[in-house]
């Protein structure tokens, strides 16, 4: 059930370089959202940008939802300027949650940049289901790391300023080489090139893997056909990221 809220801003905090955690009150979304789902956000005061912007729900507490975002353009600048008492127009929960199929024992969360956003809520559900957890985060540098509400976290940075010096997928490979995990399943989220590398690694290693994609959206609810991702089998060439994703099993899609 998709809902539209004019959601009061409860807090908005800079938590790392250029990264904010914005908490809004949106009861019905908070109560029904599942890990991997997203909301589509616009300003309520008519300020820019024109289209809504999609953000993973990062966590929930009671009636509150957390959004974690990087300031990259007009939309995220507007969000960064929101203060307590302002409101945000939020539509959600949208999309398909992460798939928990398969008898995995260990969940490996692999996040690139703000790909970490959905992991706090995902962590909570995985803990409820008594899975072992490993969280690998990749970032440009130490200043861009956000590791709140996560379990068993390892870091990779592009510049080596913290943790492993290299990509998060390379970190994953080296972790698994040093220590095999019991019945693992990967949950990946981040920019497309990283997800592509992750997907290739998972398929090569025969590890189950769910990916949460980013991509351009106009509506987020299946109205515009604007968000195709190539499918790897079946009669349709494309699936829609907003309603058939944003999470996909890595076997079902082709990333380019």
């Amino acid at each position: 059930m998709i809902l539209q809220h004019v959601a009061p801003v409860v807090s908005n905090t800079l938590i790392a370089e250029g990264i904010f955690l914005l908490t809004v009150e949106a009861k019905d979304i908070a109560r029904s959202v599942r890990p991997g789902q997203f909301v589509n956000v616009r300003s309520t005061d008519g300020s820019l940008p024109f289209l809504r912007r999609p953000f993973s729900v990062s966590n929930t507490r009671g009636d509150l939802i957390d959004l974690m975002f990087n300031v990259v353009g007009q939309g995220t600048r507007m969000m960064a300027s929101r203060r307590i008492g302002d409101t945000l127009d939020v539509l959600g929960p949208l999309g398909k949650p992460f798939g928990f199929a398969g008898n995995f024992k260990t969940a490996i969360m692999v996040g690139g940049g703000l790909g970490v956003a959905p992991f706090p809520i995902l962590t909570r559900q995985l803990e409820e289901e008594k899975k072992s957890l490993l969280t690998l985060l990749g970032a440009r540098s130490a200043k861009h790391i956000v590791a709140k509400d996560l379990q068993n976290t390892q870091i990779a940075t592009d510049d080596g300023s913290a943790g492993f010096h290299g990509t998060v997928v390379a970190l994953l490979e080296s972790s698994l080489q040093s220590k095999a995990l019991a019945d693992p399943k990967i949950f990946g989220c981040g920019p497309t090139p990283m997800l592509k590398a992750l997907s290739e690694f998972a398929q090569r290693s025969g590890i189950e893997c769910e990916l949460s994609l980013e991509g351009d959206m106009a509506c987020g609810v299946g109205l515009c056909q604007g968000c195709p991702v190539e499918t790897s089998h079946g009669s349709r060439k494309y699936a829609l990221v907003c309603v058939e994703g944003p999470t996909f099993n890595c076997h079902d899609i082709i990333l380019r």
Binding site: M1, I2, L3, Q4, R42, P49, F50, L51, R52, L91, G215, D216, M217, A218, C219, G220, V221, G222, L223, C224, Q225, G226, C227, P228, V229, E230, R236, K237, Y238, V243
Partner: protein
């Protein structure tokens, strides 16, 4: 009680606000969020004979007060539509307009003929902004004689409302309006999207996979109004105004320049109930200003006859 309805070839629309083709899927995507029965009508995504995958990504680019799309008419095809989508649409208490796209005149005829055999479709809107495969991909909609021919051929196949959806990408849209009126159309929809593009200056590539795409949203509202106004000067058939409508105020501008009804497109992406809100807002305006029938507003703009569309020196 304010009269909001209007009639097109015997089909009654409960109000003057429809949702535009390609911006409201097949009507079932947002049924939890919107009371679609409060709409005057729903234009389906364009239907072609076979299913179409559509264009590769990237299909959507935001632009100042608007967006570009290059969906490539991705659609489920007419047979699947009849089997899987029409049954739901039949349950609705609003007018269902099937929008048809094709790459040959025969395909337009085939799709319409198949739809004619079904229950639950109240009328047709013909998207002529499609490449004519025979003519090397030039759009039908920029060729006045082809547009006329499509209209005349389809007219022989149906007694239901036949609405020709015109492209703004021509020098004189009034010529096209006149041609389809003569060929038997019941109404025209004005406008489809405006050709536009955007470039990624870092990748040095077009942002859309197809280089150019269609511009929609508030950015094009002034253009759409001028096209509706131009068409309204030369034809007497009803005009459905489209282009950048976000609010009731926008819709009223279209009525005043000569549109009998409007369609809300891109606004649905931002607020899926935009169409319902536009209809409500038009009702409030009528109430506030003592307009008993919204039809009284159609073409009610006073204008200085000294100036014509063509004479505005810039």
């Amino acid at each position: 009680m304010i009269k909001e309805s209007f009639t097109l070839r015997g089909v009654e629309f409960k109000n003057r606000v429809l949702v535009a083709s390609g911006t409201f899927g097949y009507g079932n995507e947002v049924k939890e969020l919107v009371d679609v029965n409060k709409l005057g009508g729903i234009c389906t995504k364009s239907l072609s004979w076979k299913p179409r995958d559509g264009n590769p990504p990237r299909r959507i680019v935001e632009t100042p007060s608007g967006m570009l799309n290059s969906i490539g008419l991705a659609n489920v095809g007419v047979e699947y539509f009849i089997r899987e989508k029409l049954p739901y649409l039949r349950t609705l208490d609003t007018v269902i307009i099937a929008n048809i796209a094709a790459s040959s005149i025969q395909e337009y005829c085939d799709v319409l003929s198949l739809l004619e055999q079904q229950e639950g479709i109240d009328g047709y809107e013909i998207n002529v902004s499609c490449p004519n495969v025979k003519e090397g991909g030039l759009s039908f909609g920029t060729d006045c004689s082809k547009t006329r021919e499509i209209t005349a051929r389809l007219r022989t196949l149906t007694a239901k409302p036949l609405i020709m959806k015109l492209t703004p990408n021509v020098t004189h849209i009034s010529e096209f309006a006149r041609a389809v009126e003569e060929a038997g159309a019941d109404a025209i929809s004005v406008i489809n999207t405006v050709i536009g593009m955007a470039v990624d200056i870092y990748k040095k590539k077009p942002k859309l996979s197809t280089v150019t795409g269609g511009l929609s949203g508030p950015a094009i509202k002034p253009i759409a109004l001028a096209k509706v106004y131009e068409a309204a000067q030369v034809v007497s058939l009803p005009i459905i105004g489209i282009g950048g409508i976000m609010t009731a105020e926008d819709a009223l501008e279209f009525l005043l320049v000569g549109a009998t009804a409007v369609q809300v497109g891109t606004a649905n992406f931002i607020d899926p109930s935009a169409g319902v809100k536009v209809a409500e807002g038009m009702r409030s305006y009528a109430q506030r200003f003592g307009v008993s029938d919204l039809g009284q507003l159609v073409g009610a703009m006073e204008s200085n006859k000294e100036f014509s569309v063509l004479q505005s020196w810039l």
